[in-house]
């Protein structure tokens, strides 16, 4: 009893101190139109990775990277272009080291998402073989893969389901993460809790959205936000899922059926030329899942200051340890989509204004973009910060000589074919 009262008093005192601190912080925040962003890892969005880690880039033959881009230059502008730009950024970055002995991380520049159909969609069928071939190359040429079996290597795999290398979720789950990458760190756009294709310790990144194109469509920030909810995109994928209910787990169809007649919801499949301008005139932008839970809409919403309404159960958003997404976006369960208007209109006003202040923070917008040339605080730097936060490497990283963990013959027969 006594200890209970004592601890209660201590808690009350702590609460009072916290309140004072918060009121101080809030008072400062009111004077500006932005607010600092602090995630679970702390106030790390503006950290400078230079000096905190060293990355060695393997020299792969051009058939793994340059020749693929030369064959189809659409790889540079689609939403998977992050892998190419990451390579270019690292080549000229200050954290690059030419001495592999002092490197903390090893990067393999292989573009697995650059094999495009005539319509521009990446085919993942050869990607496992390409990756396997690249790893065989580096393990034969350098000793660094074998000494850790890839535990201090990182790979950029921005495709739909990351290193599962398939666009269909069931097939991707069946395949699982490529066996050879089981110990490596994966930098990918896909993120869903308790999913086979999200490996422990992966770094989730935003999909690539063209920064210059977005910047040219900016309107004055004083333009009043007069659209309540905005969304442009497919609700039914009639080509691949004619009956409905499979695409987006029925969530997009549910949005359409429930809100197509609601004047507060500006939703349609039409793609207007003023798409970016309209997002800047909206208070909420829907970011529902599609075939995969992530989409460039999140990046666009953040850049244009529209509060993202994320409808994707268990999604893991980019840089989740650096950016407190629950404070910035609105998360709606897929089951709650019919109540979306109730949910959105019952958010308290201070919460909405705070979200807008957080979104107005320029470091937030910068962290979602891949500008060329790279700028401080952008997505490239956030990736490096994320890798730096994983240092120093743990105990099990370095294997004893002769110890082997990975099984090189694991996986479907088709993957074992050389490329």
């Amino acid at each position: 009893m006594g200890t209970g009262a004592g601890s209660a008093r201590a808690m009350a005192a702590a609460l009072a101190v916290l309140l004072l601190a918060c009121s101080g912080a809030v008072a400062v925040a009111r004077a500006q139109d932005t607010e600092r962003i602090e995630g679970s890892a702390g106030d790390v969005l503006e950290d400078d990775p230079v000096g905190r880690l060293k990355v060695y880039i393997y020299e792969l033959p051009t058939k793994y990277n340059k020749k693929m881009v030369a064959k189809d230059s659409r790889c540079l502008s689609h939403m998977f272009a992050a892998e190419i730009f990451m390579h270019r950024f690292l080549l000229s970055s200050a954290i690059r080291t030419l001495n592999p002995e002092e490197a903390d991380w090893f990067y393999t520049p292989v573009y697995t998402t650059c094999d495009l159909t005539p319509w521009g969609h990446p085919l993942p069928f050869k990607s496992p073989r390409i990756m396997r071939s690249a790893i065989q190359f580096i393990s034969n040429r350098w000793p660094y893969w074998n000494r850790t079996e890839g535990a201090d290597h990182f790979f950029v795999v921005p495709h739909d389901f990351g290193a599962c290398f398939h666009y269909q979720e069931e097939k991707a789950i069946e395949r699982g993460v490529l066996p050879l990458l089981r110990r490596a760190t994966l930098v990918q756009t896909f993120g869903q809790k308790d999913h086979v294709c999200l490996k422990e310790g992966s770094v989730t990144i935003p999909p690539y959205a063209p920064p210059q194109k977005m910047k040219t469509h900016l309107v004055p920030p004083g333009t009043p936000r007069s659209i309540f909810v905005y969304f442009r995109g497919l609700f039914y994928d009639t080509a691949n899922d004619p009956e409905g209910g499979y695409y987006a787990r029925g969530a997009r169809a549910s949005v359409w059926e429930n809100f197509k007649n609601n004047p507060l919801f500006d939703i349609s499949t039409d793609h207007p030329p003023t798409y970016y301008e309209d997002m800047q005139r909206a208070v909420f932008c829907l970011c529902p899942l599609g075939w995969a839970p992530w989409s460039p809409r999140l990046v666009e919403a953040v850049v244009f200051g529209c509060i993202p309404v994320i409808i994707a159960d268990d999604i893991v958003l980019p840089f989740a340890d650096a950016i407190p997404w629950e404070e910035i976006g609105v998360f709606v369960a897929e089951d709650d989509v019919p109540k979306l208007d109730t949910i959105l209109t019952s958010i308290p006003m201070e919460v909405i204004l705070r979200k807008q202040r957080l979104l107005a923070n320029p470091s937030m917008k910068q962290a979602m973009l891949f500008p060329q040339p790279a700028q401080p605080g952008d997505a490239f730097h956030q990736i490096l910060n994320g890798l730096a936060r994983k240092l120093p490497h743990g105990e099990g990283v370095f294997l004893k000589p002769g110890q082997k963990v990975l099984n090189w013959t694991e996986g479907p027969r088709g993957d074992l074919k050389p490329w």
């Binding site: 069931e170 004083g222 209910g245 499979y246 029925g250 609601n262 004047p263 507060l264 208070v283 209109t345």
Partner: protein, 531 residues
């Protein structure tokens, strides 16, 4: 909230095939086999039992001629279990009629299947997501629950959730609008004018038929202005109760000033009187030391909201572009020659800038094409044109009118020196010594922020006091033919005319008119009405 469950494709296809065939024998059995097979692991005895039962149902269907579905069987024997299942999953079974299925029997059959599955799982008390997992486990695509037993997000076909009354709730709509208002207020605070000044709106008006029309429009525009506002209404011929009550109901801060002279019927004289009324208002502003930006809003003009945002930027005196809407009264009155039409410049009055963005001159309205055909008397059906520069295109800083103000520039005349001897004050430029110091607003006059319009009824047109019809109108023109021969109608005269046209073609002989046959046949002819 109701959950709807879509049937699976293969089951539906087979069931649809069954429905299409008249008896549904073999195809039904195929469907049943798939159903039975997909229902999860069962003891062999029970599966043979279901097979025999289904065979029995197929035979019955052959004899009956329609598909005797197992739903009936369940409804007959398993109602209690049905209720248990529905309450436990907290959703009623509402089926969404998909566009691909056409017969209801098809959908009911597949409902049966899903219900069967939920019963099977009902043995272990199911939680919501686990229930759904059991249902989706029967999905022919062989769904996996994201590959991890802890995850409850299931791959595969899901139902499309629709709530039964998808229409927007008006309370929520109001809340959404309040949210947007607050967001826009916040935007103005961060990105708009830092210290918004009061807006002083000067409106000369007088009592006539269209006064209520014009003042109501202006009133609503001013109510939407997001800045503190004072409406200075100068009324010619003294203040009237109608105007006073309208101002009182508006919810705005207002100053209602009587002006002793009556408004003349001539446009030229009216123009001069209005100028004097505006000067009078400026003198009141000066006396009361009202602080803010003076906007001249004539009651018949149309103002945009951007105008009020733009005038906050004025230092001492600014000019905006005014769109001139010189209406032509009747379409056949003004015939412009082709070259006139081509040479006609934009009907905009406003500042003209040189290439460096400084005031270089003025755009004014070209009244040449209208020469000789303009209205001289108020209410005449002819174009009404502006004269010279209209006051509406200028805005002032009220401190310019004060006797002493900090920083008052010396190119401003003292207000007392203006209009003393009854001279004509054509436009506000006469308030200045040096008209070149006027600031062009609205992107150097490129943006038209308000529209000038003069529309008036005939000077002798009658209108009810306060636009209230009290007591109600009496019958002025009795109906010639009505379907109710004995009663006296209380319809106002206009409606009577309409009824007359409708009844013209009827053969009612109750009150026969003495008009010749010819005129009664014509529809809507005004001559046929008065008699």
């Amino acid at each position: 909230m109701m959950k709807s469950l879509l049937p699976q494709s293969q089951l539906r296809r087979s069931a649809a095939a069954a429905a299409r065939s008249s008896g549904g024998g073999a195809a039904g059995a195929d469907g049943a086999m798939a159903d039975g097979g997909g229902a999860g692991p069962r003891a062999p005895a029970s599966s043979t039992f279901w097979f025999l039962l289904h065979a029995l149902f197929c035979l019955i269907s052959v004899f009956l001629g329609f598909r005797f579905s197992r739903l009936l069987f369940f409804l007959l024997f398993s109602t209690t279990a049905l209720y248990h299942s529905t309450t436990s999953s907290s959703s009623a079974a509402v089926l969404r009629a998909t566009t691909t299925t056409t017969t209801t029997t098809t959908t009911t059959t597949t409902t049966t299947n899903t219900f069967m599955l939920s019963f099977a799982a009902a043995n272990n008390p199911p939680s919501g997501p686990a229930n759904r997992t059991a249902l989706e486990a029967a999905d022919n695509k062989g769904a996996a629950a994201s590959g991890n037993p802890q995850s409850h997000v299931v791959v595969g076909r899901h139902g499309i959730r629709i709530r039964p009354w998808p229409h927007p709730d008006p309370v929520e709509v109001m809340r959404a609008h309040r949210i947007m208002e607050r967001v826009q207020e916040e935007q103005r605070r961060w990105y708009g004018v830092k210290e918004p000044r009061q807006v002083l709106v000067v409106t000369p008006t007088y009592s006539r038929a269209f006064q209520a029309l014009h003042l109501t429009g202006l009133l609503h525009s001013l109510r939407n202005v997001p800045y503190p506002l004072t409406w200075i209404v100068v009324e010619a011929g003294g203040t009237t109760n109608a105007t006073a009550s309208m101002l009182a109901r508006s919810g705005l801060t207002f100053v209602h000033i009587p002006f002793p002279d009556r408004m003349p019927h001539d446009w030229a004289d009216r123009h001069a009187t209005e100028n004097r009324m505006r000067l009078h208002a400026l003198r009141v502003i000066r006396e009361r030391k009202m602080d803010g930006v003076v906007v001249f809003a004539d009651d018949s003009n149309v103002h945009s909201m951007e105008l009020f945002d733009e005038v906050q930027k004025v230092q001492w005196m600014g000019a905006v572009s005014v769109g001139i809407l010189a209406h032509t009264g009747r379409a056949d009155q003004l015939r412009l020659s082709e070259e006139d039409k081509q040479n006609m410049p934009l009907p905009v009055q406003g500042p003209a800038c040189n290439s460096s963005g400084h005031l270089a001159g003025w755009h004014t309205f070209n009244s040449l094409p209208f020469s000789g055909k303009t209205a001289t008397v108020v209410g005449e059906a002819a174009p009404v044109l502006p004269r010279g520069l209209e006051w509406a295109g200028f805005v002032l800083n009220s401190r310019m009118l004060w006797k002493e103000a900090d920083g008052k520039p010396d190119w401003v005349k003292d207000l007392d020196a203006v209009g003393e001897n009854g001279e004509e004050i054509e436009n506000p430029l006469t308030l200045l010594n040096d008209p070149s110091s006027v600031e062009p607003l609205g992107n150097c006059g490129k943006k038209v922020l308000l529209w000038w319009l003069r529309v008036e009824a005939r000077a002798d047109s009658k209108f009810p006091q306060g636009w209230v019809i009290e007591p109600p109108l009496e019958v002025v023109v009795p109906a010639k033919r009505t379907p109710w021969p004995e009663t006296t109608t209380e319809l106002p005269s206009e409606l009577l005319d309409d009824k007359q046209e409708q009844e013209d073609r009827r053969l009612s002989r109750a009150n026969k008119s003495s008009r010749p046959r010819g005129t009664t046949k014509r529809k809507g002819d005004p001559q046929g009405q008065d008699n």
